[in-house]
Amino acid sequence: MTNLVEIRDLKVEAKTDSGRIVEIIKGVSFDVAEGEIVALIGESGSGKTTVALTLMGHARPGCRISGGSVKLAGKDMARLSEKARARVRGTEVSYVPQSAAAAFNPAATIMEQVIEITRIHDLMPAAEAKSRAVELFRALSLPEPDTIGDRYPHQVSGGQLQRLSAAMALIGDPKIVIFDEPTTALDVTTQIEVLRAFKAVMRKGGIAGVYVSHDLAVVAQIADRIIVLKGGEVQEAGRTGQILSNAKHPYTRELLAAFEPKARGAAPVVSEARPILAIENIVAGYGAVQRNGLPLVCAVRSVSLTVEKGRNLGIIGESGCGKSTLARTIAGILPTSGGRVIFDGQELAPSASKRTHEQLREMQIVFQYADTALNPAKSIEDILARPLTFYHGMNGPARDKRIAALLDMVQLPGSVRHRRPAELSGGQKQRVNFARALAADPKLILCDEITSALDTVVAAAVIELLKELQRELGLSYIFISHDISVVEAICDEIVVMYAGEKVEQLMPSATGKRPQHPYSQLLFSSVPKLDPHWLDGLERDPELVRAYCQR
């Protein structure tokens, strides 16, 4: 039996901005059998998406397939003319994008785009295509399958769009579907529904798949085989169970290790439990203040919490639950509409511009995207020098020494100080971002999703660094994330937020966490486990799902 896909010694070149040519895929070979789902897993920059796209004969602008062959049902996609490739795309091989929200044309209805493949390739009359699409909507358990196609992309939720994009890929009856991180942009509770729908449709149609992801636990649920990529080379390939239980390659083990529950360890002994920060009934939001004193869009509704000195508080919740707004409110970037912020025994002014220099210094915030938080035109040295001059009035050799010490603290080599942010890796940039907060000598650092843009292995290292710095400097963190395992790894207490409200406060280190609130139970049970049977065995209360997963 011949395989549906045979990739042999595939090489892809990319041209950098400076005109240099680098090989980003260095001789990758693998097969996909009929009806088999193969996962490509690896960190960002490992070339997993690039490899998957070559199956369609496509290379992103600036890239070029420079060697090897990509045989799909006997045709070498790397050698076909652009016209011949266009004929294969959508009919034999189709694509489910990472962000369906961006991959749908905002100016056309969903139905128009879902059946576009049948129009382009003249597969069937429009009426037939539409009824087929409705069938697919039903199979993917989309709500209101008969009418959802008449809406525009912005009128449906992210999870629904992701399933609609799968319908778009399946309409032309392809032999193989490429899934490019299709659930990465979704919340965990939504991800489950989408994964289930994908799995059911693929199994039923006997369609082969290439599933690109960085998340081993997600891949474990859907893939028959796993291929681990790093630096454009295959590190390890094998059946899912074998990779999970008996990984050979050190990099695969590293990936697996990131999943092992890392208990926070004993909370540091604090001689006297003294709250460093207490917030009482905070209300915050956006838009003009209404007659009842509340903002037009209320993002945080009456949240109270305390952080004790030397201890860490985690805030988890899904996108849009108000966790970042809460951080911005505490920092004074977004003034509160109600409630009090008490820091180290003193009540703080709602707006940062009214707080004293010392108050500003003692509480620092670190943002999610180091890329946008660091000024691209300044060197690392300048970036770190500014808070040192601003808060401590440092200059000359004293400042130089301090910069060296800060870089050392975040475990960066001293040679980076003359570079600009664009010359550093994602993890290095996040370390600089953190060092900038440390430069102020704060007592409390607000970390807003600081590991979300990083790869699993890099994120784990950043978390380790944070823990170490806490031991050395006696800091407290408020750690905001949507990723429960990250929060559990570093926090003494966890606050669960939903729709702007605090629904529960938990202690993960206490014997066996037992979330009481139904939403926290749903959230905790939705985190994928490495066990390949987890998804099939997972039972969720449909009432609960309906109540909390409208998005």
Partner: protein, 316 residues
Amino acid sequence: MNHRILSLVMSRLLIAVITLVIVSFAVFFATMMLPGDTATILLGQAATPEAVAGLRTAMHLDEPAIIRFMRWFGGLVTGDLGTSYANDMPIADLIAGRFINTLKLAGVTALFSVPIALTLGITAAMMRGSLYDRVVTILTIGVISVPEFMVATSAVLLFAVYLKWLPALSIANEVHSITDLLRVYAMPVITLTFVVSAQMIRMTRAAVVETLNTPYVEMALLKGASPQRIVLKHALPNALGPIVNAVALSLSYLLGGVIIVETIFNYPGIAKLMVDAVATRDLPLIQSCAMIFCVGYLILITLADILAILSNPRLR
């Protein structure tokens, strides 16, 4: 059309009306600042102090400026543009014929320049980075950089003086046949097309290139769509807002900014009328011409904004 679009369009129209009032205020007081006393200039050598005083009273020139503004604005709203100081004719009669000439020239130019500019802009965007794209870009930048009197004089030199294909002056009243029309309009239209197309080409190219880099265009490519389909179905509808705005801005130039072209080709349009009015200190005529330019500009810009609102799918 739903409620939200309606309220957005209405608010846009209201802003246009308010702008118009502010503009008329500015036009009136700007013309007031022209040096020299109108009565003295009109009377010329017969300007005895008594005659000047009498004329000032007759022309309401001794009233406070704000009263005169109200009187003038009231006239504008009711369609009474006043009478010309220079030859005592109603301004409406003076302008009517000239305005139609200007509209003709603008219309013919738009008819040529808009399709040419859009085609060049879109094709350049589709083939971005290619030799064709570079040639178009260099040519448009070249055309932007050459002043229009240069283009116009070169055209006269080439087509009228050396080749003798076309008349050097465009006398719109002598049009009797299609060939006449082509002969009369050819040079002003070519010159104006050069001037207004460049910006439209640049903006169209930029707007289309931006949408071509979006994930939904890559998605269309991966569905097997042809380049034509990708541009027409996916890129263009989303680039419409900026393109319409660029077109409106360029076309508004055809109403008010054609003074040089009308003067060089001696074309009897409204811009030339205004230049003549400045020479004779004919304030009501200057004001009316200025108002016509402003209204034309406002209408085009408002139209472009409303089109952009209507083409935004998020408001549907």
